[in-house]
């Protein structure tokens, strides 16, 4: 199921980030994707299940949340090191990364959601 990922700021995630970026709370608030109800059905993804989000730039496993309101074709992720796995490293002339419009494939997965430490390990591998 192909969607456009749009990142956003959530106050509870910002609060967790202020307090401790290595906390479980921060991971819980950050490593999520908000899916449209019908998109989630099409992708075979249930509320609270793990979902693989894969763009041309990278892939990341996060927890699926189903939005109350409809937004077919769009999926929202809090801006975080998890969403940044998907943001293209290649930029246009402005050298401003495209944080808010990322084409990605979503699918159900059994894989685990990475911790901050997992992300760091990958960063230096």
């Amino acid at each position: 199921m192909r969607v456009t990922i749009v990142t956003f700021r959530d106050i509870f995630q910002s609060e967790a980030q202020e307090i401790d970026r290595f906390s479980e709370e921060y991971r819980k608030m950050s490593a999520v994707v908000f899916l449209d109800k019908s998109d989630a059905v099409k992708a075979g993804v249930k509320e609270g299940a793990n979902v693989l989000v894969e763009s041309d730039n990278g892939r990341v496993v996060v927890v699926a949340r189903i939005s109350e309101n409809a937004h077919p074709g769009l999926a929202f992720m809090p801006n975080s090191p998890w969403s940044n796995r998907l943001v293209p490293a290649k930029t246009d002339d402005t050298r401003i990364p495209s944080y808010k419009s990322i084409s990605a494939e979503i699918s159900a997965t059994e894989d685990k959601v990475p911790t901050v430490e997992d992300l760091l390990r990958e960063m230096v591998s």
Partner: protein, 406 residues
């Protein structure tokens, strides 16, 4: 009264009860600001050199030595430091012939640039409270990013000319992709657009202003909105990251709309800057070099995209990061490049960037443990004092000591 450095509103009406070194109760802080106060005791960084815990002094000396030996250093961050620290930082960049850039380079730099150059008119948030009767929040969600924006300045408070507050005297529109928390409270005036639809909406808005039929689905709603916008005594547009990213490289579109609105009435723009003193850094660097960010001092003063954090992360041979977490906030591919560069990081907290840094220098939390001044999102200077004693030096102190040793 204390000042909150949780975002660029720099709320200066914060009441804090202190018992010794700990904060027992606060009044008027929003959830996000309170989080910043709570971080006083959480996960503080420790001085490190090459993974080994050491003294702050040794970390500073090592940083100075690394800077002295670097050939293409980059100094990045700055939006969470005081004006005083930023001034030292720019001085250090000159001395080290370094590239200097801040977080505006990957967010709202293009809009702030137009405001600082006076290409588009701006005003203060106090002006908005007193006279701003027609507001457009565009690609932003103030409830989440600047929780007290609407209550302190823009929508709910009574102002000099607006005694009846939001119910009768003010109209606020929200233009966004996402039905955000702010969309809930501005439901009747929420214009939902598709990703990247901002430019098309501007075209449609300009068409209505020219008396033409706009090419949008709901023509009636747009025409009615434009009629309201035209009737403003003082209108204010608050662009956020949504608009900044959607119009990147095409910011003349925003200017075209603002200019057109200003033909009949007064419209100002205030950028929804995130970090508490990004505006301050942009202003300082502009005053010194004529550019708000992306400057190289390697050979006089040069400016351009090759000096952006996105490019310099790949080309520098040393990165000094001040009060920022680029390993967390850059696209992973660029963060990976930066992680290969030796990094010196000044931060009050442990971050993804401190974890990968050769040198970590812990610093005081400004606004709580260190005083100074900063520019609010609208450019107004706010001064603050430390409210608790700290064992950590301020960014300004650390940078001064590095300057002395270099």
């Amino acid at each position: 009264m204390a000042v909150c450095t949780g975002c660029s509103l720099l709320c200066d009406d914060i009441e804090v009860s202190i018992d010794g070194r700990s904060i027992t109760r606060t009044k008027n802080l929003c959830r996000k600001g309170f989080g910043r106060y709570r971080s006083l005791t959480s996960d503080r960084s420790v001085p490190r050199v090459d993974g080994r815990q050491t003294s702050i002094q040794e970390a500073i000396s090592r940083a100075a030595e690394m800077l002295r030996n670097a050939r293409r250093p980059m100094l990045f961050g700055w939006s969470c430091s005081t004006l005083e620290a930023q001034r030292k930082g720019i001085e250090l960049a000159r001395r080290a012939r370094a590239i200097i850039d801040d977080t505006s380079s990957i967010c709202q730099g293009e809009i702030v640039d137009m405001i600082i150059r006076r290409d588009i008119p701006s005003c203060t948030l106090d002006d908005v409270r007193n006279y701003g009767d027609t507001l457009i929040f565009w690609g932003c969600d103030p409830s989440s990013s600047h929780p007290r924006h609407m209550s302190r300045f823009s929508y709910y408070p009574r102002g000099e000319k607006l005694q009846r507050g939001h119910e009768e005297d003010r109209t606020a529109f929200l233009i966004d992709i996402r039905a955000s928390p702010t969309a809930k409270i501005l439901a009747g005036n929420f214009v939902q657009i598709p990703p990247g639809g901002d430019s098309d909406l501007i075209d449609a808005m300009l068409a209505v202003l020219d008396g033409k039929i706009p090419k949008v689905k709901d023509k009636k709603a747009l025409i009615s909105m434009m009629n309201t916008l035209k009737k403003a005594d003082m209108g204010v547009i608050f662009p956020g990251l949504g608009l900044a990213y959607s119009l990147k490289g095409r910011m003349d579109r925003l200017k075209a709309l603002v200019d057109r609105l200003n033909e009949t009435t007064r419209y100002n723009v205030i950028s929804m800057v995130g970090h508490y003193n990004m505006r301050g850094f942009n202003q300082l660097l502009f005053d010194e070099t004529g550019f708000i960010n992306r400057v190289s001092f390697a050979d006089g003063v040069n400016h351009g995209p090759m000096y952006s954090v996105v490019e310099a992360s790949k080309s520098c041979d040393l990165a000094m990061i001040v009060g920022s977490d680029p390993i967390s906030s850059l696209p992973a591919g660029i963060a990976k490049a930066l992680a290969r560069v030796p990094m010196i990081t000044l931060d009050p907290h442990r971050t993804l960037t401190t974890e990968l840094s050769r040198v970590v220098i812990p610093t005081a939390l400004s606004g709580i443990e260190a005083g100074g001044s900063a520019l609010r999102m609208d450019g107004v200077r706010i001064e603050f004092d430390a409210i608790v004693k700290s064992e950590y030096p301020s960014d300004e102190e650390v940078l001064s000591r590095i300057l002395e040793e270099i």
